[in-house]
Amino acid sequence: MTRAVTLVVFFMLVHLFAYSQRLPVSEGLDMPELVEGVFAAQEGDMSFDELYEQFLLARSHPSDLNSMTSGELSALHILTDRQVAALLQHRERHGNIVSVYELQGVEGFTPNLIRLLNQVITVDDGTSFGWKGLPVRMAAMPEGYLVTRMEGMIQRRFGFRENEGGYTIYRGAPFRQVTRFRSTHNRDFSYGFTAERDAGERFRWNPADRSYGPDFLSGHLQLKEKGWLNNLIVGDFVATFGQGLVAGGGFSTGKGAETITTVRRPASGFMPYTSVGESGFFRGLAATISCSDELRLHLFGSRFFRDGDVRIRSDSVEYLGSVFSSGYHRTPGELLRRKSWLEENTGLAVQWTGRRTEAGVVLARQWFSVPLLPADNVYNRFNFRGKGNGTGSVFLNHTYRNVSFFSEFAYGNRDLAWIAGFLAALAPSFDLALVARNYGAGYHAFYSTALAENTRTANEQGLYAGVRYKPGRRHQFAAYHDQFRFPWLRFRSYLPSCGNEFLFRYTWAFTRGSSFHVQYRAERKSVNVPGDASAYYRTTEFVRRNWALQLDYRLTEQLKGRIRLQGAAHSVAGRQPQGIFAAHDLFLDGRRWRASFRYALFDIPDSEARQFTYERDIWMAYSFPSFSGTGIRSFVNVQFNLSPKADLWFRWAVTNYSDRDAVGFGPEQTEGGRRDEWKVQLRIKL
């Protein structure tokens, strides 16, 4: 309690100090606010990297408002279904939108919404460019950029230390490198590549083991709207159809502080994959053919070597024990698993898009070079086993007045899965989302990302209800409640179980640029009793409770700040893990530079109550670290506009633990209670 009071007093003092700062800041898309809205739920077992990168990429390449489909508009996660429908109707009645100012005439588009939308869309005259002059336009590299980034840690990790024989666990250099290039032209083309090497990985050229320099290489060439060829991608891509039960690549958020728009998956078809995540995408060819204005045929084929633990059975038959998706290839063991098995995917989708109805059929077939045989545990009983898997689904979406229905019914691995729901604007100030789902214990689709509590879309039944109420311009209430049931056993919960999750968030925008929000989230789930290793597992209730308070303020046009307090108070098997994290951020904006600072204190004695918090990072990079123990976290990010075509970023982050002499575990461990991380990035606009 004393610590908590000290933290509060400290941050009040810092707040006072902030008033003495008078530095310039410019308007811009508040990425942290958007990201925190979507990722408000703190989960330790979720990978946010890929989600965040795709979120950022979608926003760093504004799309043309006149050519966006309803799915693409929904995928922005800014517009409600009602607003999307109003915009499409406006386009139908009045033709292409000439300027963003015209949006003021569209029902439900407020000035604030238009201001936000303006930063992620463009408006062009609707011209399709065709094949003529394509090489010249591509060579001109419109909206092209090249980004290169290095990042590392000052302290030497155990994995980089030489043992007595002069060997290290990690074979490569102790810093990470990322290089990205991309050029896009709306309604015409996109091409680019991404190269990445994690800390500890080597730069190798050996075609025999599929090493071509950097550890991870990705690239794509996309052509759009070339007559009947609506979309063609060669290289890496993701596919999203229906509600993502069969193919759900790309950005998906699921449950979060945005309680309405994110529960429905937009059917965005094929999109280039440009992230540094080393799994979750296809590599090959994808094409969308326009048979008519309403009817489209999507075809794709993919062939890709992936990481996995290939073992040999007693009868000398090779099999795949588990699939790895971390993308790390630093140690001899990790290198053995690198690109060790081949995955092939083929599929097609037929999609009919009417004025208010969208329907389609998706068929996909997956083949592995070695059979997948997961460990023979009871909770794995219904999991997929074998070399090939076929999945199929039908989806139907329909908008009627103020209600937007969506659904998908799928079959795979001899089991069924379905999801159905609706988003409804019941009153001008009140929105409701209701989604029911039932995924069979045996249902299997590798690339499924439909709304689920489990990490896989299998063995789950649930009902989600989300509401959003805006009684006025300045106030907003949002809440969701999700009830779920797992008919079969789960990892670390060896009995059929049920649970629920609840989130409430109130936001008060008291002045322009200044706001306050409070959020509470509770989740009740069943887990095995800790420490019970008996043959007959017993389960107990694990209640996770997270709360957050945040105040955003703007002192001048150039100086903004944020105070955030968040904490956890869990309850499991008689224990009550608790923790608190308090941070103060400052954001400054100069004519040719930008900077952000954070000073944070955390006091989290039990790692079970560890706190995940979003940190503002340099452009196209991502930071969502977790904290446990007692200590101080601080960082500084600086961006310099070296010239109109070049930007330089720098980041330094320090974590000081006062309760330990070493940080991390295994090869990642460093001596002492301090960790210093750095990042440097250069962007050249071409």
Binding site: L426, S429, F430, L434, A465, Y469, H481, Q483, N500
Partner: protein
Amino acid sequence: MPLCLFLFSFLSVFSQDPLWTANARIRGMSDVAAAVPDPSAWAPNPALPERIKGVRYDFSVANSWMTQGSTAVTAGMLAPLRGWMAGVGVHRFGDSFHSESVLMNNFSFHRGNTSIGIRTEYHQIRTEGFQTQGFLSCSAGTTTRLGPKISVGAMATGLVQSAFGETVQRIVPHFRAGFCLRPDERLLVAMDAHKRPDRPAGIVAGLEYRIAKAVFARFGMGTRPQSVSAGLGVQYWRLSIDQSIRLMEATGFTMQATAGYTVNRTKARE
């Protein structure tokens, strides 16, 4: 008339469900009861019988087809009584092996934007082979309109219980507080927090939406115990018919239907 109603009340009733008084409308919203006005004698919050002119009759049947012998029947009458609203009702739950019956009298008083109410209940519990047990209990509630769109309410049931004879059976006291919001004339949203001394607190939330002039759709969810409810209601002339279905942890599905009829109804006083 009020005196007749009071005399009629000497019949019998009951069940251990803390919100056994809920009709199909309230049940369709997952038992959000603390602040939702209800034009029936069995309004779960004793302060909340809607102020009507004339006499209102209600009849309700509920059945949980996954639990044998769990049919519940409720009947009630509600009428104005010199500035008060008075209601009487009977409730019976169970079968020939085990049955619980309740007889109740409800009085609510309205002044300004506030209402208070009190309900007395006589419970009788019969189980084959055991002695019949009977006891009196009391419930109370209050509600306040904070504005044209929002009202709050609180209620407590099973407050005072006096036993007759060798009675050892008791109903568990139950506390509930919540709000009712009307963002739009077509929409009603409500949420309650509820607590019993022997269980952790839970939350229920529900909404009612008028999908056509006389047709209402309802939905609700609750925690501890987990429940999901949905319902439909029709109001035509003096007649209202409501239907609900609830899926609850342990008890499974429960269907309920309620019919209400108002005699000499002119208009509501507010």
